[in-house]
Symmetry: C2
Amino acid sequence: MAVRDRATTYFKALQDEIAGVLNRMDGTPFRQDIWTRPGGGGGDTRTFSGGRLLEKGAVNFSAVSGQYQEEFARKLPLGDGLDFYATGISIILHPLNPFVPSFHANLRYLQRGDTGWFGGGADLTPYYPFEADVVHFHRTLYDALLPFGEHRYREFKAECDRYFYLPHRKVMRGVGGILFDHQTGDPESVFAMVRACGDALLEAYVPIAERCMSLPYGERHKAFQEIRRGRYVEFNLLYDRGTAYGLRTDGRVESILISLPERVRWVYDYQPEPGSPEAELWDYLQPRDWLAVGS
Amino acid sequence: MAVRDRATTYFKALQDEIAGVLNRMDGTPFRQDIWTRPGGGGGDTRTFSGGRLLEKGAVNFSAVSGQYQEEFARKLPLGDGLDFYATGISIILHPLNPFVPSFHANLRYLQRGDTGWFGGGADLTPYYPFEADVVHFHRTLYDALLPFGEHRYREFKAECDRYFYLPHRKVMRGVGGILFDHQTGDPESVFAMVRACGDALLEAYVPIAERCMSLPYGERHKAFQEIRRGRYVEFNLLYDRGTAYGLRTDGRVESILISLPERVRWVYDYQPEPGSPEAELWDYLQPRDWLAVGS
């Protein structure tokens, strides 16, 4: 079977697995929207809301095909012609408890003409970070990528640090993770690498969520979480290429903007009190070698 | 005295007047931040928060000068050289009560080399609109512009309808108002027109706010207001030229993003119940000839 079809099958199965685990943790069933795209293909959007774990979350799968607009296709760096096929999974989790980080991941396969490539990534956005959790998250991704060369994690981690950056705030969106695109090498080994990333997602995030989701919190923590979620919205609407691409290509708006957290707050000139738990977060919002921490 | 200096004086005085009236209505003093810009000039940011009227609001004045970056200046449609001077007032009001519309206005004078021009606008974003209020708002702006030609309101209203549009949602941000830029005609008469707009702002908005700010509301109304404020954020971060310009030119971030409402909510696939008061709003979010309504 062609890589394209196996990738589609893998992403679909991964959606089932991850949505299942989250369902169990959340205690509230997800809502499922099966949709079709007028131009070809469709998707399966599974959204969480109001459960034990997730204030809002989504585990989306899609596999769409069709014809690019000529003007649009001219700007694409890879492939020939107008025919395309795109499949992938995207996960966005905004927990209720401010001690549980938000989580985002995306894995995808694109094909234009006869050229196919993979892209993806996973990153973490804590509010009240625990250093050991951030190290665990990065180390899990490092371990998953290690069979494909030690340089992989380093490269993808650096790309993630560059990408999830808010220039107007001069901080990263969170504590990073990995990010890669345009992986056109030997399809079998690239696909194996993507599967290794996909298989590591639950291990990277679930232990953190399980440990923190019952920690007691108050108004103060919730307010800080909501203010920080404003920065998440700023990144996604001002800078995120996926959001801009989706809205420009007339994608399904609700599946694109599901990435935005449910409750968000913008307070004029918010500054954390020096020395407070809130102020500690800022040390985490600059690129750091997380594998070197505590080792 | 040159128009540039008189415009500066006028905007400053208008800030005092409007901030004073809002202060009285709000019952809570505004916070004042006087700031200077490293490149030249500065501003006076007055913010409201947590009062009777305003969940969050701002009445900002600035007068800055300096040198444009060469690359940036090349793209400007008017004037010569790199020297610039810019002064203006901007007002953003996000009331607490969901029956009171949000209000935005901006008036400004820019000069590059020897060429100066005015720009500005005012627009209204209701949540539970009252038709008579929308008519009053538009009629007040029409009356203010009438001495400068009947075409003014029509042109500026059409420009406002075009500008405050969210293509991905296929609705306007609110019910519009007026918008104009690059007014390079006879400086005295353009300045007179800008003053007429500025002098009409309180009359356009205050009666609406006074009538509605004590209407009783509940959780349902607040939730709808917060969801609709999400669309306001989407517009400002995805499409607003002023926000993009400010962030790209390294403007004062807090003064730019003060336009974002305090409490915002994104709910997956929100749809108002057909026939509900919430659903009525959608009829207001398409361009309409408000002067013809009820006359």
